[in-house]
Symmetry: C2
Subunit: 132 residues, 2 copies
């Protein structure tokens, strides 16, 4: 049984009211989490249908780990639970955008920075420059 | 010949200076484009190694269209060229974040909104609410 309806490409998919996320061949959709209060991109992760449904139902971000091949409630071990303030989909419904309030230490990245995107590409090299 | 070096998971991948993007089994990496002046998430798209190399080389965003299976310079037909102000990678280098200045009409979405994420999920339905 499918958790979400399916829509073919077209006007209903792009302008309609029906949430019909388009999961890829692996059953996943890309999810971008942004800090609701700072408008900073925190992380990019993946959701399967169950993770997306749980995120909507509980108001806390759930993802799917491609490496561990398992559903994953963000913060379950780290305490960096993400309270979802707003959930958006893009035009062709193959990506979701979450505005979240990170709990715990306020971070989202296992390395210790608030955002996973703490490195800038400069002259072909990576430079650590976390946002202030 | 590979355009980028490869690194195994570990400290060098997460904290080192080497740009070693980890493309998935299809040879793609997720790319999030944010408006450099508004901190608004504009779109999520895909890059193959060539698209990423061209983006770095030219300073203009190139993507890979999964549906058309072709390299794609953003704005080539729409005029919505994206000048890249900053390029970041995430902790495990399987996602990139671009801060861009959209040219042309200033938008990024083919539907006509500035951002592709113009719909919010509310009570299980989609509501169009583009950012002001």
């Amino acid at each position: 049984m499918s958790l979400f309806p399916q829509l073919a490409p077209g006007r209903e998919l792009e302008r309609g009211e029906t949430l019909a996320p388009r999961f890829d061949a692996s059953g996943l959709i890309a999810a971008v989490a942004v800090d609701a209060d700072r408008d900073e991109v925190l992380m990019l992760a993946w959701m399967n249908a169950e993770a997306l449904a749980l995120t909507i139902e509980t108001g806390q971000a759930h993802y799917y780990s491609r490496s561990r091949q398992a559903l994953w409630k963000k913060g379950e071990t780290s305490g960096q639970v993400q309270t979802v303030v707003e959930l958006r989909v893009d035009c062709d419904q193959d990506a979701v955008l979450l505005k979240v309030r990170p709990q715990g230490d306020g971070g989202a990245c296992h390395v210790g920075f608030r955002s996973c995107f703490y490195r800038v590409v400069e002259d072909g090299r990576l430079v650590e420059r976390p946002l202030p």
